[in-house]
C-alpha cells in the first residue's frame, strides 16, 4: 500500500472569541488575524514534515484551500514547486489545484508539467471540485462547476499529452487558441491522475477514465459506495476490474506510543472539523449550484416539516464530532501502533480494499514535534504491515519520457 502524508497547514491561532463571532472562518475572515511571521514558521514546519516523509519513504500530498484558517496553502503550485525540488525520492500528489475556480486550465497544466520536470517524474495530479466558500473567494460561478471540472480536466490532459506544436481549444467553458506548453511533462503519457470526490456520478466517470478515486474524511460506508460505483461503471463500459491501486482512503491519523497518547494527540486534529469548517449559510447551504433545487428547498426552513430531509454538505455532519465518534465513523485513526493498524484494517475490510492510505497527520494545535513523532511511528510500526496494492490491468503506469 502507498501511504501519503497530508497536512493542510492550518492556522489555529485566531482567538476563539473572534472565530465565535465570525459568520465564517473562511473567505470573509479578515487576514489581519493571520500573523505572517507565525505563518512563515508554519510553512517551514510543514515543509520540514514533508522532507521527513521523503527520508522515511512516505509520499506527500500538496493540497489547496483558500482564504481561511483551514489552510494556508492557497497557492498549491508554489508548494508543489518547493516539494518537487526539496524532496528527492517520494511521489508528490497535488490534491489539488482548484481547477473550477481558475480561469485558464492551460496555465495549470503548465504549472503541473513544470513540477513534474523539476521532480524528475514524481508528480501525481489530483483534481478537486471545490465548492462553497472557495467559489466566493475564487470569484467563480458555483452554478455549472461540475461541467467546468470535466472540461478543465480534458483540456489539462490534452495539454499535457500534446507534443507536436500548438493546438486550439474552443470549448464550452474555456477557450485557448494556441496551446503549446514548455516544458512538456516528464512522465508519459502524463502523470497519474486522481480526483477527490464522493458523489456517484463523479466516481462512475473516474472509473471509466481509470483515474484514482480518493475519498477524504467520508468514512467507510460512503467510500465503499463510491468504489462500488466506480467498479460498476467500468464493468458497464467493458473495462477491466480495477485493482485497489485505483482507490484512496483519507482519514485523520495519529500514532502514539500508547493508546492514551495516540488518542490525546490525535484528537487535536478534530479541530479541523470542529472549528475550521464553519462557513456562513450563504457560502454553504444557500449557495446555488452545489445542491439541486429539489433538495436545497428544505434548507430554507428553520422549522423543518416532519419527514422532510434537508440536504446538507457531507462535511456538515462532522462538525462537533468527538474522538470516539470520529474513530467509530472511520474519520480518525488514533492509538498505539497495533490499535491504529487494527483500525485501518477494519476500514480496509469494510471498504473492500484500497491501495492508498492518505493520513492527515497534523491539524489544529497538534504541533510540529508531535506531527513528526506520529509520522515516524506510523511509518515504522504500521505501514509495513498494510497489504500491498493490487494493480489495474489497463491502467498503465506512467513512464519517464524517452
Amino acid at each position: 500500500m502507498q501511504a501519503w502524508y497530508h497536512c493542510e497547514n492550518v492556522y489555529p491561532f485566531v482567538p476563539q472569541e473572534i472565530l465565535d463571532h465570525a459568520e465564517s472562518v473562511r473567505a470573509s475572515l479578515p487576514n489581519k488575524y493571520c500573523d505572517p511571521k507565525i505563518a512563515a514558521d508554519l510553512f517551514q514546519e510543514c515543509l520540514d514534515e514533508h522532507l521527513l516523509c521523503d527520508d522515511l519513504g512516505v509520499n506527500v500530498v500538496s493540497i489547496e484551500h483558500h482564504s481561511g484558517i483551514n489552510s494556508l496553502y492557497g497557492a498549491s503550485p508554489m508548494i508543489l514547486g518547493i516539494l518537487a525540488r526539496q524532496t528527492k525520492k517520494v511521489r508528490i500528489l497535488s490534491l489539488g489545484t482548484l481547477i473550477t475556480i481558475r480561469p485558464d486550465p492551460v496555465r495549470i497544466a503548465e504549472e503541473y508539467a513544470t513540477a513534474d520536470v523539476i521532480s524528475r517524474g514524481r508528480l501525481e495530479i489530483g483534481f478537486v471540485k471545490s465548492g462553497d466558500s472557495e467559489m466566493v473567494s475564487g470569484n467563480a460561478n458555483p452554478v455549472g462547476y461540475v461541467d467546468r471540472f470535466w472540461e478543465a480536466i480534458d483540456l489539462i490532459q490534452k495539454t499535457l499529452t500534446s507534443h507536436d506544436g500548438p493546438f486550439s481549444w474552443e470549448g464550452k467553458h474555456y477557450t485557448h487558441r494556441h496551446v503549446n506548453i514548455w516544458p512538456p511533462v516528464y512522465q508519459r503519457p502524463h502523470p497519474p491522475m486522481w480526483a477527490a470526490t464522493g458523489d456517484p456520478e463523479t466516481s462512475a466517470e473516474l472509473g471509466r477514465r481509470g483515474m484514482v478515486n480518493a475519498l477524504v474524511l467520508r468514512g467507510p460506508e460512503a467510500s465503499k459506495r463510491a468504489f462500488d460505483t466506480y467498479r460498476g461503471a467500468r464493468r458497464e463500459a467493458g473495462l477491466a476490474e480495477p485493482g485497489t491501486d485505483r482507490f484512496a482512503y483519507a482519514a485523520l491519523c495519529y500514532v502514539g506510543d500508547t493508546d492514551e497518547e495516540g488518542i490525546r494527540v490525535g484528537s487535536k486534529t478534530l479541530w479541523f472539523l470542529n472549528t475550521s469548517l464553519k462557513q456562513s449559510p450563504q457560502m454553504s447551504k444557500f449557495l446555488p449550484g452545489r445542491i439541486p433545487p429539489e433538495a436545497a428547498a428544505q434548507n430554507y426552513r428553520t422549522a423543518p416539516r416532519p419527514g422532510a430531509q434537508a440536504m446538507r454538505r457531507p462535511a456538515d455532519s462532522l462538525i462537533g464530532i468527538t474522538a470516539e465518534q470520529a474513530i467509530a465513523r472511520g474519520i480518525l485513526c488514533a492509538g498505539n501502533p497495533d490499535t491504529v493498524y487494527t483500525q485501518i484494517m477494519d476500514i480496509y475490510d469494510k471498504v473492500g480494499g484500497f491501495g492508498h492510505f492518505i493520513f492527515i497527520g497534523r491539524s489544529g494545535f497538534l504541533d510540529h514535534q508531535e506531527a513528526e513523532k506520529g509520522i515516524r511511528l506510523l511509518t515504522k510500526e504500521v505501514l509495513p504491515r498494510l497489504p500491498a496494492a493490487t494493480s489495474t490491468p489497463d491502467a498503465r503506469p506512467a513512464q519517464a519520457a524517452e
Binding site: 452554478v143 449557495l287 422549522a303
Partner: protein, 262 residues
C-alpha cells in the same frame, strides 16, 4: 404557487418552452420578473388587470420553465425576450421589468424600441455607475441572508418570504429561481458594462419607479440610470424597498396606470 390552477399557461418561442402567466384583455403588458418569478396571487397583478392583458413569462430555469442546454447567458435571455416580442400579436406593447428583469427590459428596449409604446423599469439592475471599488448592487449571493433580507424590504417582517409557511413546491421554485439567477448574473455581477453607452437609444416614454427604501440598489442609482435614458421620468414609491410592487401594490399600480394613461 407552482402547478396550481392559477391561470398559468405555456408559451413556445423558437422551441423554448416557457411558463407564462396571462390575465385580462386589451393593451398588452409584458412583465419581466426579477430575482423571483411573479406570484400569481400577487395583489399588484390584480390591480394591473384593468390596464390591459398581462403576460408574464418565467425565464428558462426560473419557475416552471425548463432551461435548454447551453442557454445560460443574459445574451440568451435578451434574445429570447426579443423573440417573445416578435411572437406576440399587435403592433406595440408595454414592457415592464422588475429588478433583474428591469435590466433585461432595458436591453430589449435598446434593441427594439420600435415594438414598444411605453417602458417601465422597477428598481432595475444592469449598469455600473460607481468607481471600481464601490459595488452598486448588493451581492445577494455573497452577503448574509439576514443582510439581504434587511436591505431588500422596507418592512421585512411583513413582506419578506416566510420559508416555513411556503409549500414544498414553492420552495423548490424559490431555489430554482436563485440557481438560474446565479447562472446568468454571477459575473459580471448583475450588470453589462456596455449598457450605459446604449441606453440613449431608447426612444419610448420611460418611467423608472423606485422603492425609496431600496438598499439592493439605491434611489441614487436609479436617478443615475434615469439620466441615461432620454426623457425618462424617475419616481419614488415611499415605504417600499427593492420590490415596491409587493410592498406598495396600490401606489405601484396607480403610478403605472397614470403613466400608461398619458
Amino acid at each position: 404557487m407552482a402547478g396550481e390552477d392559477t391561470g398559468s399557461e405555456r408559451l413556445k418561442v423558437r422551441g423554448i418552452d416557457l411558463e407564462v402567466l396571462r390575465r385580462g384583455t386589451g393593451r398588452q403588458i409584458l412583465l419581466l420578473h426579477g430575482f423571483q418569478t411573479i406570484d400569481p396571487e400577487a395583489r399588484f397583478l390584480e390591480l394591473l388587470v384593468p390596464r390591459g392583458e398581462i403576460i408574464a413569462p418565467s425565464g428558462p430555469g426560473f419557475g416552471n420553465s425548463p432551461r435548454p442546454k447551453d442557454f445560460d447567458t443574459v445574451y440568451d435571455l435578451v434574445h429570447l425576450y426579443l423573440e417573445v416580442l416578435e411572437a406576440l400579436p399587435g403592433d406595440k406593447l408595454t414592457l415592464v421589468g422588475f429588478s433583474f428583469g428591469g435590466w433585461l427590459a432595458a436591453e430589449v428596449a435598446v434593441a427594439c424600441s420600435n415594438r414598444l409604446d411605453k417602458l417601465v423599469l422597477v428598481d432595475p439592475l444592469g449598469i455600473k455607475i460607481s468607481d471600481r471599488e464601490t459595488p452598486d448592487i448588493l451581492d445577494i449571493f455573497n452577503k448574509s441572508p439576514d443582510e439581504v433580507r434587511r436591505r431588500s424590504w422596507h418592512d421585512p417582517d411583513r413582506f419578506a418570504p416566510d420559508f416555513n409557511a411556503m409549500s414544498d413546491e414553492a420552495l423548490v421554485v424559490y431555489a430554482r429561481n436563485r440557481e438560474a439567477l446565479c447562472l446568468y448574473a454571477w459575473h459580471p455581477y448583475m450588470y453589462n458594462s456596455q449598457l450605459p453607452r446604449w441606453l440613449g437609444r431608447i426612444n419610448v416614454p420611460t418611467l423608472l419607479l423606485w422603492g425609496a427604501s431600496d438598499r439592493v440598489v439605491t434611489p441614487d442609482y436609479g436617478r443615475a440610470y434615469s439620466r441615461l435614458i432620454p426623457g425618462a421620468r424617475f419616481e419614488l414609491i415611499e415605504a417600499a424597498g427593492h420590490h415596491p410592487e409587493i410592498e406598495q401594490p396600490e401606489a405601484f399600480a396607480e403610478r403605472v396606470a397614470a403613466f400608461l394613461n398619458q
